[in-house]
């Protein structure tokens, strides 16, 4: 399965998906030291996004969230790539300053945690290479 969206930040990576079906706040919602999701309203609360490919419908909360994404990268706890349903200022800016490949315009409800995917930030595409969890 290949899904087409839009480039936000270029770069190609392959990895395992972690999918939140709810909007995600980074400030106060993700611990920059550990990469663990702490957002009380999140459906992936308690799980780590470090080294995974993170997919969620859109960002929410404070614009300081961009700096949290940057801190995750500096601490080696950032996601390998970000897939959003709809990019907004907070997450797009965070991905740019942290240099994390990002695409948007993807129907996140078609993705599930544990799938192996290949993200092509330049082409704005995500390909599911193994959905057998």
């Amino acid at each position: 399965m290949k899904l087409r969206g839009r480039k936000i930040v270029g770069g190609k990576v392959e990895g395992e998906l972690i999918v939140s079906q709810k909007p995600l706040s980074f400030l106060g919602g993700v611990d920059p030291e550990t990469g663990i999701v702490t957002d009380a309203e999140s459906d992936i609360r308690g799980q780590s996004i470090a080294g995974k490919i993170l997919a969620f419908p859109r960002g929410k909360g404070s614009t300081v969230g961009s700096y949290v994404i940057y801190a995750l990268k500096k601490n080696g706890k950032a996601p390998k790539a970000i897939i959003a349903g709809e990019a907004e200022t907070i997450v797009a800016t965070g991905a740019i300053i942290a240099g994390i490949p990002m695409i948007d315009g993807i129907d996140v409800s078609r993705l599930r945690t544990g799938m192996r995917v290949r993200v092509d930030g330049d082409a704005g595409e995500v390909e599911v290479i193994d959905s057998d969890q």
């Binding site: 614009t63 700096y67 949290v68 800016t93």
Partner: protein, 386 residues
């Protein structure tokens, strides 16, 4: 989005890392929000200043960015700073120093138009602080979206912003008519009206009929409350604000504001003095006239306040108050003018539990922090306070 040859070179990294990152941010936002091109801006006002908000993550980014040679290319000021204990203040000074290294004027205020930076009608800006954005758009008729920290900094560095949102004529038209039948006269009436409209309306551009504000400060307060309890970045007032004449393009829905709506807001914030341990004036930062009024009210009161009074203002306005003798009067009655800072973004707010204020914006935020709140006009607060 169309980019000039020069902009393409910046994006390709020909002018270094910092400019490239800044351009990447502007281009991504332009693409997301459907801008056709970048437009030059006259000034920027950058958020992401209080250490309480940005934390060590923010400092880390600013440090890397400053070390990479990030420099602003247009006149840029900052959002208010935080105030706290010595450890906090050390971090806060570090943040300001990093911004200074980038060439930013480190005056930290939500009222840059009182001294540091007064835009003119039609200027394009990249401002952040929600009340300053409302003032610039609505009262001055300048044009700015409500920027976040990194996006305003990126715009300051490049000197441009993507052409979308409130930069475009079509998005500055009214989307709803507000017919104010309530009697709105005092400062706090305007605060309550703003609070009510922010709560009632969505992401609208209201066209407000039936008010005649005595001072600019009343509109400043109304806009601040509207932008805090809601997300309104531009409003028009019939007969008052510069763009009202062209504001109505289509047939619009009308909502009515009655006395009961204003009273409901006042009643929401009517906690008893026994639960109040500080008085806050100057949200948004006070003008010289507001400070002068407080000094006069204190003189009339004739005895010092038991409850401490804090007035937040820009350092420009505080310097005027100092040299004109108002600061001395205020201090004599247990008041202080705090320059370039904001309680809403400060850990110092945790040292108190109840606030009396004339600000609808502060009422909104402090209630959300779990405070007891008493909202009333300065005249009553100074007269009645223990």
């Amino acid at each position: 989005m169309y980019l000039t040859k020069e902009e393409e070179l910046v994006l390709a990294g020909e002018y270094g890392y910092a400019l490239q990152k800044a351009m990447e941010i502007l281009v991504a936002l332009g693409e997301i929000y459907g801008a056709d091109r970048l437009i030059p801006i006259k000034s920027a006002q950058v958020a992401g200043v209080s250490y309480k908000n940005i934390g060590d993550a923010g400092i880390e980014f600013l440090k890397d960015f400053a070390d990479a040679g990030a420099k602003v290319s247009i006149y840029t000021t900052l959002n208010p700073a935080g105030i706290g204990d010595e450890e906090f203040m050390e971090k806060q000074r570090e943040v300001l120093e990093l911004y200074r290294q980038m060439g930013i004027e480190v005056t930290s205020t939500c009222t840059p138009y009182y001294g540091a930076n007064l835009p003119k009608f039609g200027d394009h800006l990249a401002w952040s602080e929600s009340s300053a954005v409302s003032f610039a758009n609505s009262i001055i008729g300048a044009r700015t979206n409500r920027e976040g920290g990194p996006s305003s900094l990126a715009a300051a560095i490049v000197g441009k912003t993507p052409n979308y949102g409130l930069h475009l004529d079509e998005n500055r038209k009214a989307t709803v008519v507000v017919d104010v039948e309530a009697e709105v006269g005092s400062f706090v009436d305007y605060a309550a009206l703003g609070y009510h409209l922010g709560k009632t309306l969505g992401n609208d551009v209201p066209y407000i009929k039936g008010i005649k504000p005595e001072m600019t400060e009343y509109l400043k307060e109304m806009g601040a409350a509207m932008a805090a309890s809601g997300s309104i970045a531009l409003y028009h007032v019939e007969g008052e604000t510069p763009e009202y004449g062209d504001a109505i393009a289509d047939k619009l829905e009308t909502i009515t504001v009655e006395n009961s709506d204003i009273m409901a807001v006042r009643e929401l914030f009517s906690d008893d003095w026994s639960e109040i341990d500080m008085i806050l004036i100057g949200c948004p930062h006070a003008s010289l006239m507001e400070i002068k009024e407080i000094a006069e009210l204190l003189r009339m009161r004739g005895k010092p306040l038991k409850t401490p009074l804090f007035i937040t203002a820009s350092r420009a306005v505080k310097a005027l108050a100092d040299s004109l003798g108002y600061t001395e009067v205020i201090e004599r009655y247990n008041g202080r003018i705090i320059p370039d800072a904001c309680f809403v973004v400060s850990p110092v707010k945790d040292w108190y539990r109840g606030i009396a204020t004339n600000s609808g914006k502060s009422a909104f935020y402090f209630r959300s922090f779990g405070f007891k709140v008493r909202l009333d006009d300065a005249e009553n607060l100074i007269k009645e306070a223990p």
